[in-house]
Subunit: 289 residues, 2 copies
Amino acid sequence: MRGDTNRGHRVRLLNMTERTVFFLSDQTGVTAETLGHSLLTQFNGQEFRQVTLPFIDSDDKAHEAVARINAAGEADSLRPIVFSTLVQDNLRSIVREAQGLHLDIFDVFLAPLEVEFQQESTHEPGRAHGMTDIEAYMRRIEATNFALANDDGGISRNYEMADVILIGVSRSGKTPTCLYLALQYGVYAANFPLADEEFETGELPDVLLEQKHKLFGLTIAPERLRHIRKERRPLGTYSSAQQVRYELRESEKIFRRYNIPNVDTTEFSIEEIASRILDSTGVERRVRA
Amino acid sequence: MRGDTNRGHRVRLLNMTERTVFFLSDQTGVTAETLGHSLLTQFNGQEFRQVTLPFIDSDDKAHEAVARINAAGEADSLRPIVFSTLVQDNLRSIVREAQGLHLDIFDVFLAPLEVEFQQESTHEPGRAHGMTDIEAYMRRIEATNFALANDDGGISRNYEMADVILIGVSRSGKTPTCLYLALQYGVYAANFPLADEEFETGELPDVLLEQKHKLFGLTIAPERLRHIRKERRPLGTYSSAQQVRYELRESEKIFRRYNIPNVDTTEFSIEEIASRILDSTGVERRVRA
């Protein structure tokens, strides 16, 4: 009993060191989150509870944010970290009353930019992730539709229109990477799965070779691929060590045979895979999100 | 002739005021781009040429970045703006030699965080968009597969597993929003198109009503919807003014009848629609990208 109580107490003490991080925005909060994550990953061993408060566009909502920050600070016994991208002065001054460490990109970076441009900033909600450009929205939608129609070697095979065509074995990351390239950058990305037909002949089909300069390969460590495939089908050849090694070996042979640039996705997030593809191929972003 | 020359000269003068903005990173550049866009949208009337230099992870690449920044400054006759998220001190000091306005989140925000945490930051490449967590990667992939399988009322209709089910007329933004929710936040988002069957009866099918608390509606201005639909099918009823108004009117009736929260996507980007859905429904992010 006493042991249990002690354990409970230790757990509570550990929890007390978990700090709350707030991401405040008059828009989506994407900028505040992105900024915050980049900074917080520089500190190992810290645990954070993360709360995004988007669309703070009135005095009421700003006061509500203050109340939530102060309540979290009391509950944690540690003052919260507040990443804020509010631009309207009245809302900024309300939020500032909250008991927390305030880190605000507009505080520090607007002034040097105003000097540089010899122009005052608007102090109006920024629409950094907003519908500033209907054409950009349309391009992202069309690129997404393209990725869906040209996924997994399927339906359209409209490879003439593609900016890039990803090839690789099943579950090497092709589909999410194509969708991310479409949504984030408006890039037209198709993908084609390498399977038995390619492995047995060691050759790529003509429909791909006609667009050889657009091909980009994805590969992955065998153990990682097994782990991913087992999530889908725990049993059978599909996720067997032998099958996975065979497919990866043969796909890498094909990359070498045709001199296709490729990346090992084992250690990479979807963002990293996408960025490396753009960087390696020189494909231009059609949209900057 | 003289007129043409003058016009040419004016054009050149106008071009000279276009400034180059660089986004430098030892990783993907997503953080630098996001930060930069938020700040630059505060300045109306400025035109920028944007260049992302990701994966600067060696002295050579840092020197190459310096050369590109300086070359752009000479070509533009305006010093470039440099948003940088490099963390390694040797690379930072090389990049600093470039002739530009340097804006660096680590310069200004690491020190207060180090004081707050009573801990030095690692100064190691941050992996803010990196594979810090294989489980997070898997969740995003699985959420993406879920969105694909449950797109457009199709295939699985595995609505028990859904966090949210978007409903709305064709081309109101359901598919890209579901994919964005999956890729960015790991949220399980299904979607179901409202069409003749629902409009004629004014009712939703049982498969949706069983999960009524997960339903979220998308609507859009008629003119905007026509514009989007015409991109796909320029002629025919699908994009006629009458049809578009009819479908939107009936879908909004359904939202009212069943008291389904909804958002008008006309003025919103995909990020904004996604953020508003999370904000309105209280659905929690499963991943913070």
